[in-house]
């Protein structure tokens, strides 16, 4: 209490406030931004080995191939997500039906699964000859198609969540008003709701794209099970592969592909933002008859049915397919090793989230409240950087940075934590700043006029309002950290987190054990989330 009082008194002066904020910014730059893009600098200092790779057509063609796979898969997946995500967001936000709560929870399930387990499960489901054979054709899915199916699963929730967050804020009366003016529902949505959707579309697109580009664990597991490993690469699996082979030129290849992925991803971020913001849905032309036909009767029903079917068949069934292992005899599980991996994972995720909250809130507040200032704009864009950079490249860059500074090598776990802090940070900040923007500033002003000091105003007025978004951001960051494979591997190949543990089991051909470990982990995560929700909703009721 006395500490609280002390902070409260200190917060009344501008100077300590500024000092604290400067410190936060410094931490953000030094601990997160610089290590994330350090590899770009490294490329120039190590130009010799990089140019060596560039001169080798065999290597460059491998790199270009991996990049092409990564970016084209991400693009296809994002487009599919948008098309399928919009009607789903509609169902979740605008429709009232029984069981909606369950649908809502199911939607997030793929986020709880360790990605390695997910890749495993998806290949089991779709992969002939063990899984589903495309009927009659005897066709076996290529790795490319398989990865698209896989990546849709863990990007889809991000898209639906981003879109429904925006949809919730769009006044439903707009559509009703349009309909009293003789517009069909279809026309109303096309001319009013969709154009208002852009912000959500930008967020969703960036999240999906980045998530797909970053994905390592599931992708690796899928390729491994399809025996395509070492033949078919995406950017992240290429880096993982290079880390494993004993090749003197591997360093050059890794630097090159990391830099290329970072640069392309950043360019894409800008282009996507501009494209979506500039692109105008044409609202001048309308087709009253077509609109009415599409708004009534079978079409909307079919659309809803299709969305639900897509969710069930493309997303949920493959996700849960791994549970079929439960019908088989229990594998021998090394519980000590598994529990220690789970412990490590929870510890890493916990530290990353706490860091995100403590240092993320000041930055989020600044972005939300001072968006129009120069620093606000800079921070707003910088925060997106670790989000859009593929985590494997980020981890690789971060590893290079810290090993340049400290060559001891015994601090590997700390470096893994730093890596997880970097890519979870934007998730926390984005969630909080989004929520703060929604809060009318006059609440805080009123509190101040009543004599509250800045820190008190924050804890007593703002915090209770944005609490749920802080928690949502924390959960998102936590699960993201739990599932992360690529960054962990790129920093420390021997790190003992669960996703790495499961990948190693798969690598060793212990499929059954990997499946059972995944199921145990999923169960633990599920219970953890459930307890968290309970605690949160109980806490929420008090305030």
């Amino acid at each position: 209490m006395s500490l609280f009082k002390w902070i409260n008194n200190v917060s009344n002066n501008e100077r300590p406030r500024k000092a604290w904020f400067s410190f936060v910014c410094l931490i953000f730059i030094v601990l997160i931004i610089i290590p994330s893009i350090f590899v770009v600098l490294k490329m120039f200092t190590e130009w010799d080995i990089v140019s060596g790779v560039l001169g080798d057509p065999e290597k460059t063609s491998l790199i270009w191939g991996a990049l092409w796979n990564s970016f084209s898969i991400a693009a296809i997946v994002t487009v599919v997500d948008i098309v399928i995500g919009i009607p789903m967001a509609w169902i979740l936000v605008r429709k009232q039906f029984r069981g909606k709560k369950y649908l809502d929870t199911l939607m997030d399930m793929p986020l709880v699964f360790p990605t390695g387990a997910l890749g495993f499960s998806v290949v089991l489901f779709w992969g002939a000859p063990n899984g589903i054979d495309i009927p009659g054709l005897g066709m076996v899915l290529s790795p490319y198609i398989m990865l698209i199916l896989l990546h849709i699963i863990f990007t889809y929730p991000y898209m639906v969540r981003s879109l429904s967050a925006i949809l919730e804020q769009i006044e439903p009366n707009y559509e009703t008003a349009a309909m009293t003016l003789s517009a069909s529902r279809f026309t109303a949505v096309r001319t009013i709701t969709l154009p208002l959707f852009r912000a959500g579309l930008v967020t969703g697109t960036i999240l999906c794209f980045a998530r797909s580009l970053s994905e390592t664990g599931g992708t690796y597991a899928a390729l491994l099970l399809m025996n395509a490993n070492g033949i078919f690469f995406t950017g992240p699996t290429f880096i993982k592969h290079m880390k494993e082979i004993q090749d003197p030129t591997a360093m050059g290849s890794m630097i090159l592909i990391s830099v290329l992925m970072i640069v392309f991803a950043l360019i894409l971020l800008v282009v996507v933002k501009l494209l979506i913001m500039r692109f105008k849905i044409p609202i001048k032309k309308v087709w009253p008859h077509l609109g009415r036909k599409l708004s009534r009767g079978a079409v909307p029903k079919l659309k809803d049915a299709f969305s639900i079917a897509f969710l069930a068949i493309i997303v949920l069934l493959p996700t849960f397919y791994i549970f079929t292992y439960l019908t088989q005899p229990m594998a021998d599980i090394d519980f000590v090793a598994l529990m220690s991996a789970i412990g490590t994972s929870f510890a890493v995720a916990g530290v990353a989230v706490v860091f995100g909250i403590v240092f993320g809130i000041p930055i989020a507040l600044y972005i939300a409240r001072k968006r129009d200032t120069k620093l606000g704009k800079i921070l707003d864009n910088l925060v997106n950087v670790p989000l859009i950079i593929p985590t494997t490249a980020l981890g690789f860059s971060l590893g290079l940075f810290w090993s340049t500074i400290y060559a001891g090598g015994s601090l590997n776990l700390l470096m893994v934590v730093l890596g997880h802090m970097a890519f979870t940070f934007p998730l926390v900040v984005r969630n909080i700043s989004g929520a703060v923007e929604e809060v009318d500033q006059s609440y805080e002003e009123v509190a101040m006029t009543l004599g509250a000091k800045p820190f008190q105003t924050f804890t007593k007025v703002l915090m209770p309002i944005i609490q749920s978004s802080v928690i949502a951001g924390a959960i998102l960051a936590f699960t993201r950290s739990l599932g992360e494979t690529g960054a962990t591997l790129a920093i420390d190949r021997s790190a003992n987190t669960v996703p790495v543990y499961i990948i190693n089991l798969l690598d060793a051909g212990k499929h059954s054990e990997a499946a059972f470990c995944s199921i145990i982990l999923i169960a633990i995560c599920f219970v953890f989330m459930l307890v968290l929700r309970l605690v949160v909703s109980r806490g929420g009721r008090h305030t």
């Binding site: 009366n173 707009y174 008003a177 349009a178 309909m179 009293t180 003016l181 003789s182 529902r185 154009p195």
Partner: protein, 360 residues
């Protein structure tokens, strides 16, 4: 358009927002709906315009059953309580929205939008976005947008609530003149009694999901059929008393609390009946003789004085005096008499007077 409601109810769960409403509205009639907040006013016009389907009952327009016709084919203008201008379109695009979705040619859309913006004197703002306008201006645009649909039925949900008093008065006569000229049937929800009194052909007074009373403004003011109507529309003094007798002319003679007798208008009550009388402040005068009362409050109402007294009957009785007249002092003793003709007699409600005028 002629509108007829046949036993309409709207239920949310097991709560009836409106219940068993039957009503006929003539073509071109201007109706206002008055009532305490939460009584179902918005629900009623949403059901009439097809935004909501009633859970029971039928809606007829020109004697055609339209209960199941979807909103977009109802052809009913509607101005929302929260305005709901489309934020991604300019003012002009908003007003031109209805002709556009009916696929009219570009020049015609343009003309209609222009005409209606001029109607509400907002043409100079045509290129702005809704967020750049004040609340009042937005409401004007919302009205223009609804009128631009050319429909012959218009629902207004408290459309003037964000306007300042002078603009509000100007606009309401303007709207009335306009809809009368175009022959539009209007249902106008308001909480402003003066507005309801001055623009409507008939007033619907609602209470707790039902229609309490319907009538012309004058009739409702002069001859309310219930204590609630007398209390809710205008201002009135209510006093509990007992019928003593009838005069030869048929007037009711009553005994107030404390024993003094007064005369009131004709009624069908008999000696001994417990009743309530209602007399509006402007029908209470001071005199040399009459009810003893003590002045306890004096307020200048802008054009007249409102004097509050505590009468010997232990009722509070208010009366008015002209702004030019001498006002009494607080604590002064006055003697009050009522205008007999304007003193209305109601049955004393079983549930008690308080309950009878409760707003829920």
């Amino acid at each position: 358009m002629k509108i007829r409601l046949d036993n309409i109810s709207m239920r949310f769960g097991d709560f009836y927002a409106i219940k068993n409403i039957s009503l006929s509205i003539a073509r071109g009639e201007y109706l206002t709906i008055l009532g305490p907040s939460g009584c179902g006013k918005t629900t009623l016009i949403k059901v009439i315009s097809g935004i909501w389907q009633p859970t029971e009952g039928k809606v007829f327009v020109d004697e055609r059953d339209v209960t199941d016709v979807p909103i977009e084919d109802r052809d009913t203008g509607y101005v929302f309580q929260n305005i709901a201008l489309f934020p991604n379109m300019t003012i002009k695009e908003n007003v031109g929205y209805s002709p556009r979705v009916r696929n009219m040619p570009e020049e015609e859309i343009d003309q209609i939008a222009k005409d209606h913006l001029e109607l509400v004197k907002m043409f100079d703002r045509a290129g702005m976005l809704p967020s750049e306008l004040s609340g009042g201006e937005q409401q004007k645009v919302a009205i223009a947008r609804a009128l631009a649909s050319g429909s012959k039925m218009l629902m207004l949900d408290e459309p003037f609530s964000a306007l300042d008093a002078r603009v509000r008065v100007e606009l309401r006569y303007e709207i009335r003149r306009l809809v009368k000229k175009l022959g539009i049937t209007v249902l106008h929800v308001t909480h402003d009694q003066e507005e309801a009194m001055s623009v409507s052909d008939r007033i619907i007074l609602m209470r707790a999901g039902g229609i309490q009373e319907i009538g012309t403004p004058l009739d409702m003011y002069r001859n309310p059929k219930s204590i609630f109507a007398a209390y809710f529309i205008g201002e009135t003094n209510l006093m509990e008393c007992t019928v003593l007798d009838k005069t030869k002319a048929g007037r009711t003679v009553l005994r107030l609390r404390g024993g003094r007798t007064v005369r009131a208008s004709k009624s069908s009550f008999y000696s001994g009946d417990p009743v309530v009388i209602s007399v509006r402040p402007e029908n209470v005068y001071t005199a040399n003789d009459g009810l003893e009362a003590k002045v306890i409050g004096i307020v200048f109402m802008g054009t007249y004085w409102r004097i509050r007294t505590l009468a010997e009957t232990s009722d509070y009785i208010d009366y008015n005096i002209s702004a030019n007249d001498e006002v009494p002092q607080i604590g002064d003793e006055v003697r009050l008499v009522f205008n007999k003709k304007a003193t209305k007699v109601f049955e004393r409600p079983e549930e008690g007077l308080e309950e009878a005028i409760k707003l829920e």
